[in-house]
């Protein structure tokens, strides 16, 4: 077993290993490079140019540094950076630990109800963060929050919890990030053989020693990629800090971007200043991605899928089985039951109000009736499905292709490709929307602009980072031995991919597909920026209700989105089980 892994490591780590058919590889690299340059390079260039323009409009004449000066001299900058560091650092750390614990429990232990916990951990992903924040505001507002009301009625203490605070923001952000982190880590852990852990235990290592000496080092690529993803995505997240922080004056980078764009008082959004923040994010990512690449460069260290077959034994939790389930249930309660319950309640109310006996008589299905009779619902559902599914297929396909080049083939420039795959995270959604508007208005306005196709391009660009990093992690853990063996047996590249590589990646690919589809369902910024009368989506419809003062109508949309996602998660579980998952 150990020697098998060692062989795999030696083989996987050997430089110069190539697929047969180098010409195909060269063409593939060139084609992918061109697509990346188009999808990511052009928007990034436009963002950089925008930061140097007086009004942030790319094609305006003149080059200035005023936007940089304005951002740097902003009195609030120090506080904004400090708040961002605390908000992102705390939420990403807690989410990473919680997601790892949940993924480990569902994939490696004999905790009861694992399938249900797996589904329930992913389910909150369908809820738009705006509605999640709204639900928690209703639950834990210091003045009228339902939880605070309950505590007050029991203890007489007023306003025990204040969701409009930094801890409140961190708490809700953590809940919203756990499903994403869980999805990445679940496929990583699923792909990790238990043989080494078993060997460690047989050699007398205890639980903690095995965890810190074997399990965590093996999972390092996945953990680092997840952490990096959570940090950068956390910087870009607006809905939660906007809903819970801005009202009480806690600004983070994303609220500052919102301020520049949506609370601009100049007659034009301050794209130039948003561009400055985007450029700063790219610069910030350079050392982070470099660090990640350094730490995962010797991929052979992490190989755990070999030709020797997976270890299938689960760790027995003994008397802690039900304690683990109770812990997972607390997460489920906080992330799903309470917010979705509140959302459902709000959707059944004529106006936004708390839960009480007095308001029971107000229960109505009017919001759901209005939604279902909306003249544009069918069109919005179709557009949403097509754009989300299209983006999911595109991201999975591009990520498989890109990850194979980055992790397996390693052609000239593969590090640049990997770096480029991180870049969409640094592009604030608003700027990506603006950049795509420029690009497709110039290129092919009638065919692309305002179409569902441009939504697919936008969503795929935005979510490419997640796909590539998830599949990179999975591929790093998967030995080349099997692929080499297939090729030595005469299999073509296509056959090797189809019969060996892709089946090994199925859980990770399914995870990426689900994640992209779910995020496509709820994507708002890009859907609104690129909206025309031809590509209305459900999330744009939700925003329409909300921005028109109809929060209860928006909640009804959220309930249906979550229900659709619930069905999807169940189907996905079915697929995974069929593929041999447990």
């Amino acid at each position: 077993m150990i020697s098998g892994t060692g062989m795999a490591a030696a083989s996987a780590g050997a430089p110069g290993w190539r697929w047969r058919g180098p010409r195909l590889s060269a063409w593939s690299t060139a084609a992918l490079g061109a697509i990346l340059a188009w999808l990511i390079g052009v928007p990034l260039a436009l963002m950089a140019i925008s930061s140097l323009k007086p009004d942030g409009m790319v094609f305006d004449p003149g080059i200035v540094l005023d936007n940089y000066q304005t951002v740097i001299q902003d009195d609030m900058l120090a506080a904004v950076l400090r708040n961002t560091a605390v908000f992102v650092g705390a939420s990403a750390s807690i989410a990473l630990v919680a997601a790892f614990a949940l993924a480990w429990l569902t994939e490696r232990t004999d905790m009861p109800c694992r399938r249900a916990v797996r589904a329930m951990t992913i389910l909150p992903m369908a809820m738009p963060p705006l509605l999640l924040a709204m639900a928690w505001a209703l639950l834990m507002s210091p003045r009228s929050g339902m939880v605070n009301g309950l505590i007050e009625s029991l203890t007489g203490l007023r306003g025990v919890f204040d969701i409009f605070s930094m801890p409140g923001m961190v708490f809700v952000q953590t809940l919203s990030m756990i499903p994403t982190a869980y999805l990445i880590l679940m496929s990583v852990i699923r792909n990790t053989s238990g043989e080494l852990e078993e060997a460690a235990r047989m050699c007398g290592a205890g639980f903690w020693k095995t965890l810190f000496r074997i399990t965590l080092p093996l999972l390092a690529p996945g953990l680092i990629a997840t952490a990096l993803f959570l940090v950068i995505a956390g910087i870009a997240t607006f809905d939660i800090p906007g809903t819970l922080g801005m009202p009480v004056g806690i600004f983070v980078v994303s609220s500052q971007i919102y301020q520049y764009v949506f609370l601009s008082v100049t007659g034009l959004p301050l794209y130039g200043q948003v561009g400055v923040i985007g450029v700063a994010l790219v610069v910030l990512m350079l050392p982070l991605v470099y660090l990640y690449q350094r730490m995962t460069s010797n991929s052979g260290r992490f190989v755990t899928i070999t030709g020797k077959g997976k270890g299938r034994s689960r760790i027995a939790l003994g008397k802690f089985r039900y304690a683990a389930l109770a812990g997972a249930s607390v997460y489920f309660l906080l992330s799903t039951v309470l917010p979705i319950g509140v959302l459902l309640w709000v959707s059944l109310m004529p106006y936004q109000t708390g839960i009480s006996a007095a308001t029971l008589q107000l229960l109505t299905l009017d919001n759901h009736r209005a939604l279902l009779s909306s003249t544009r619902l069918h069109e919005a559902v179709l557009n949403t499905f097509v754009s989300s599914a299209g983006a999911a297929v595109a991201v999975v396909a591009a990520s498989v292709w890109l990850s194979f080049l980055i992790v397996r083939v390693r052609p000239w420039g593969y590090k640049a490709m990997n770096f480029a795959s991180f870049m969409p995270l640094a592009l604030p959604g608003v700027l990506l929307g603006v950049a795509l508007t420029y690009v497709y208005l110039e290129v092919s306005p009638n065919l692309w602009f305002g179409s569902v196709g441009i939504l697919i391009v936008a969503f795929a660009t935005s979510y490419l980072t997640y796909g590539v990093q998830s599949l990179n992690s999975a591929l790093i853990q998967s030995s080349r031995v099997l692929e080499e063996a297939a090729q030595m047996s005469g299999a073509t590249l296509a056959m090797t991919l189809r019969r060996v590589s892709l089946p090994l990646l199925t859980p990770a690919m399914a995870g990426v597909g689900i994640w992209v589809f779910a995020h496509g369902l709820r994507e708002l910024t890009l859907a609104l920026m690129l909206q025309s009368d031809r590509n209305l989506t459900v999330s744009a419809l939700l925003w329409g209700y909300w921005s028109n003062g109809n929060a209860t109508g928006a909640a009804a949309v959220g309930v249906w989105l979550t229900a659709v996602m619930g069905v999807l998660v169940i189907i996905w579980q079915f697929v995974i089980d069929k593929e041999g998952g447990r």
Binding site: P247, V248, G249, S255, V265, L268, P350, L441, S547, G549
Partner: protein, 355 residues
Amino acid sequence: MTEMNSMPACKRAAAQPSTPRRMAAILGCALAGALASLPSQAQSEPPQGLLEAARQEGQVVWYETSVPDVGAKLKEAFEKRFAGIKLNHVSVTNAEQMTPRLLQEMRAKTNSADAVQISAEQITTLEKRGALASVDWISLGLSKEQAEKPYAVATSVSTFVLMMNTGQVTENDRPKTWEDLLDQRWKGKIAAWGNPFPFVQLASVWGDDKVRDYLKRFAAQEPTLFPAPTSAAQAVASGDLPVGIGLYHLAVHSVNAGAPIALKTLDVAPVSINYSAVLKEAKHPNAGRLLIWWLSTPEGATAYEAATNRGNIYVPQTRAAELLKGVKVAAWPFDESATFLKLAPAYQGLMRAKN
């Protein structure tokens, strides 16, 4: 109302040296005159030549901020009125995105919009960049108050009102003036939008110094400043905060749904007037003119208000005009957009400073 219709006050304002406040006072008088006496000056039928030219074009593409469902209602009303002319309503719900999008389209020579409705600041930005067509609106039957400039027509108004949760604030305790909001009892209990627009408009009547002083005391009240006006309205409707300053057309949804929320127009009442314009590169300019003409008539303005809850201050048949009767209206005139833009960031800082 008394103050608004006081002609001596208007004459005094007009006689003063040209200052922003004088201009604002003149606008206030104009608005007062409009509210007091205007039967909408637009005729009930469009000029025949315009209608025929619009019919030949067959359609109009309208960029507007209402949500798609509302857009569908407007489309139905317009197409019912003008058979044979199709209205393509493009919902740009983030109003802030409208100007850059139009400018991008103009640069790429791919303009699809014929007509737009946006704020005065955005209209000014578009006009400076040569995006708007000049139209002789007066010859089409519109009043000078409606068509202050040849490139823009006032077609709707967003009114800032006081919102109160009637379950938490008894009738006797309700604030009635701007000053009442500074009472200690409302400290930490006021909902507001983080955008300083109502206060910037207020400066057109109160003057800069008075507004700055008020904002300092307002900020000391520790208001909860929401990123969107909708959130402020919801906070009051749900009882999370007992009072707030919000936009009438957003808060009225909760009122209509039966929420315990009362709305009151303050005296002075800040408003943001929304203007419609025809794009210079419009593919259907006559249909665009016809649409804007229609929006300026009692029929069009009331249809628009029925769908959006935003009426037209210059069309007395609308609820918005009724709402503003008897109070002094605060809005900077077009020519003072530079003042507006200068004050806004400073006021935003004052609001944010102590929050």
